[in-house]
């Protein structure tokens, strides 16, 4: 679910060789008071410093750009992108200040920027466009009525599972069924409600511009269980029966347990196909949930036994990628490792897929 302060994460003033200006999140209403947009004093303070120093700093070829960002503690900061392949990167970083007129300066090592015609960047595959059915997964989607309090919400239709011989789309509880109060839309998520592709956030919050692909089967995985999952029964002909995932293809019907440093990949609505590695196991994590889209606090859940994945700069997983299936990073028919559902700008968290399938009494659709 979208929290108002998440707007800043999509509101990055990036000044680089190929990009400039603000990138704003697709919202259909003006941000509420307190939102960190370009009218906010803290953001304006960073922009003022950014305008002052960027041209000078970018005379160094090692500096690729600057941006307004948030640090791990949620404070506004000036992000400086430094070419990770540059020989003099270390010296350049040492010469940059940690703070400039009260604005924290964050260094982020990165590849050289390049133009990306469509989200995801992998071969131009869009993870947000409305597909011609049968759709492939790893795409934008969500509960058809996920619109409340001036915002719409969604996530990723991640993968295909079989429950009692019936095909279901697997995603997260908080993507499909976390609207549990009448609240801002006078509605709660119910079994039978349509699940759409793409999600509302990618069709200007207008469900008529999306297509129904499945029907919600509420599982109430939270707050009671240790997994954040939900499923929707596939509408005949609307989802590729092989369970193919965009830019990954078909997967194995087998699963594999996570291991430290294991290479993994995922295909999701926001960041497309991305790769990373497992940095931790058996995590105990507290995660706060809302009671509807941009709603109030519902509960805080403490998960145990979770998988931790490196997520520097949210490059592996970002808002909207929830519901993505994490698989081993092999070229052909990878085995599922986890169901991605939470994270921060440095860390991503996945439920072990074995726990998810056990909870649902399901199996992955894939190659035996």
């Amino acid at each position: 679910m979208l929290k108002p302060r998440q707007f800043l994460r999509a509101l990055v003033a990036l000044t680089a060789g190929v990009l400039s200006g603000f990138v704003s999140l697709n919202a259909f209403a003006a941000p509420p008071a307190g939102v960190l947009d370009d009218t906010h004093a803290n953001v304006r303070a960073v922009i003022a410093v950014q305008h002052e120093v960027t041209a000078d700093w970018m005379r160094q070829p090692e500096v690729l750009g600057t941006a307004v960002g948030l640090d791990a503690a949620g404070n506004t900061s000036l992000v400086v992108y430094v070419d990770q392949d540059a020989k003099n990167a270390g010296e350049v970083i040492r010469n940059l200040p940690h703070n400039l007129r009260g604005v924290n300066v964050q260094i982020e090592m990165t590849d050289k920027f390049r133009s990306m015609a469509k989200p995801g960047g992998g071969g131009g595959t869009s993870h947000t466009a409305k597909q011609t059915p049968p759709i492939k997964l790893g795409t934008s989607g969500g509960w058809r009525y996920d619109l409340a309090n001036g915002y719409c919400c969604g996530g990723t239709l991640g993968s295909l599972v079989l429950i009692g011989g019936v095909e279901h789309i697997l995603s997260n509880y908080h993507v499909f069924e976390s609207d549990i109060v009448a609240g801002g839309n006078n509605r709660v998520a119910m079994t039978g409600d349509p699940v759409i592709q793409p999600g509302l956030i990618d069709v200007n919050c207008t469900a008529a511009n999306a297509q129904d692909v499945a029907n919600l089967v509420k599982k109430n995985s939270l707050p009671g269980s240790n997994v954040d999952c939900s499923v929707a029964a596939v509408t005949t002909g609307m989802v590729d029966p092989t369970g193919a995932i965009l830019e990954i293809g078909t997967i194995s019907s087998q699963t594999v347990a996570a291991s430290l440093n294991q290479a993994v990949k995922k295909s999701g609505r926001t960041t497309g196909l991305t790769r990373s590695s497992i940095s931790g196991l058996n995590a105990t994590i507290s995660v706060a949930y809302d009671n509807e889209c941009a709603g109030g606090a519902a509960f805080t859940k403490t998960f145990t036994g979770q998988i931790v994945i490196a997520n520097r700069g949210s490059r592996f997983l970002n808002s909207g990628d929830s519901g993505s299936l994490m698989v081993e990073d092999v070229a052909t028919n990878p085995r599922a490792v986890g169901l991605l559902f939470a994270g921060s700008s440095s860390t991503a968290i996945a439920n072990p897929i074995g726990q998810v399938l056990s909870f649902l009494n399901a199996t992955m659709v894939g190659v035996p």
Binding site: L2, G280, N282, T284, V308, S319, D321, T347
Partner: protein
């Protein structure tokens, strides 16, 4: 039950006696009860081979760091600032 960092430190021993996952399970609740701690997991030190417990912090805080033991039952305990862990719907 919440144990103070002093109490947890007293539980430390020079060498690991049991599986690190059991150690995590034995201490995760009291570590998570420390204000500013958002998670705990089993990871590796920067050498890429020594198992350790990693404590995830909401933000950098000397007070929070002081409340966290340096070792638990012989395993190193290290902190990392992750910020808030939140659901990643949109």
């Amino acid at each position: 039950m919440f144990l103070s960092s002093q109490a947890m430190a007293q539980n430390s021993s020079p060498s690991p006696r049991r599986d690190i996952n059991d150690v995590l399970r034995a201490h995760d609740k009291e570590l998570l009860a420390i204000p500013g701690v958002v998670g705990i997991y089993v990871g590796e030190l920067d050498d890429g081979k020594t198992p350790c417990l990693k404590v995830m912090l909401l933000r950098k805080s000397d007070e929070t760091e002081r409340a966290i033991p340096k070792t638990l039952e012989g395993y190193p305990v290290v902190t990392e600032v992750t910020g808030e862990i939140r659901p990643l719907g949109n």
